[in-house]
Assembly symmetry: D2
Homo-oligomer: 132 residues x 4
């Protein structure tokens, strides 16, 4: 199962007055990391949209195990767990060194430009299957 990696550094805008990264902001990193995974499989969202296909997040199940702090370097690991007819199940982790900070399952639904569900284009499915 091929994994994708994204390295990020934590800045002030990522954190809150509790002194750690704000819980919603990890979902931004997860979005960035999924984009990297797509891109490494030859899929660019802007091109998909031009061809009438997009993805929306349908479900997130996320465990916050330990916090990241200002100045931390984190790594987001992403892989596809399952490909449905019109959905993609991702497993994503945020790590700092060897510690797992976040574990998440994210389900994307394939939609048309009207945001209605549709089957994933065959070519896209192949790109995702072959390398995942």
């Amino acid at each position: 199962m091929k994994e994708s990696y994204l390295e990020k550094k934590i800045y002030y805008h990522d954190t809150d007055c509790g002194g750690v990264v704000y819980y919603a902001n990890y979902l931004k990193y997860l979005e960035e990391a999924r984009t990297v995974l797509f891109s490494e499989r030859g899929i660019e969202i802007t091109e998909c949209v031009q061809k009438g296909t997009n993805f929306v997040v349908a479900h997130v199940d996320i465990d916050y195990k330990a916090p990241a702090h200002y100045g931390d370097k984190i790594r987001i690991i992403s892989r596809i767990e399952k490909l449905g007819k019109s959905s993609i199940y991702f497993y994503q982790e945020v790590k700092k060194d060897e510690s797992v900070l976040i574990k998440a399952i994210v389900v994307l639904a394939c939609v048309g430009l009207n945001l209605k569900p549709k089957s994933m284009p065959e070519e896209m499915r192949k790109s995702l299957e072959e390398e995942s």
Copy 2:
């Protein structure tokens, strides 16, 4: 089971170039809504922190059923599902008129100022039990 309500309006900063509210931003509204629930039960986070107690989000399980758009008025409904020794299970919904946009389970863990888990202070538990 007493519910708390928060009304919000959607602005440009809530949305993304997909034309709808960005998926991470709902977690901000859920935070605001939990704060309202706490406040209605006499619990102010700033006072808790001064007394050495805070909460961190340990888990989120969120279903995105329909999107909110710029200009929408949404309503966040929150209630406590279960009170653990050092955790609180919330059920939260985001609605637009009668449509449910979001359903979420959010688990908060009670922590000391060192962010280590601790039992919820008895007085706080009573405030939450009595009225939830």
Copy 3:
């Protein structure tokens, strides 16, 4: 010069690990407050967009005089300083009680849906002139 007012409460997601509101977030409150001003003058951005007119921020000049903290209640005061042919100059302040936290000049440019500058529709100008 008619002023518009918006009250906001500060939540965790507004702050950073410096313990105060993150400097970029005030620009979100300023957006919300300008929307309130427009709305009080009968102008709804969604309707403008449907008719082919939108606004983009062309310039911001902002003084950070004192910080807002978690739990603070702030008030944003907005008024139009000057109406150009295709631009609007706002003066906006963020106050906590009687203290001024933020002073800002924000210039909006009127654009078509292609984001190119255009003259403000006459009806809109009248709504803004009469009451500002």
Copy 4:
């Protein structure tokens, strides 16, 4: 005048339903870029804070000349224009290829941990003078 550079890619979370980067988000990129400049001159904010010194943004003057879009690669260029006794004047630009999207003057004030203004430590000033 030594310049610092930061490359960024634009994701969904950066944009709004106008189809372009939300105006407040550029201030996040400017923060990141100033951190890079500091770091290249041997100054790490976490270490400063441990020694009792921090910076707050006192003023921003920002021109929005052209928008960035989803998928764009942008470059933030930063340099110090002037060093005051307790303030730093930055000039920062956001470019896409050869186009200037953003021009900004950002003034940071040196503060103690109580957020009151103080003189910049001599060692820090030297690091900034020598290489800027």
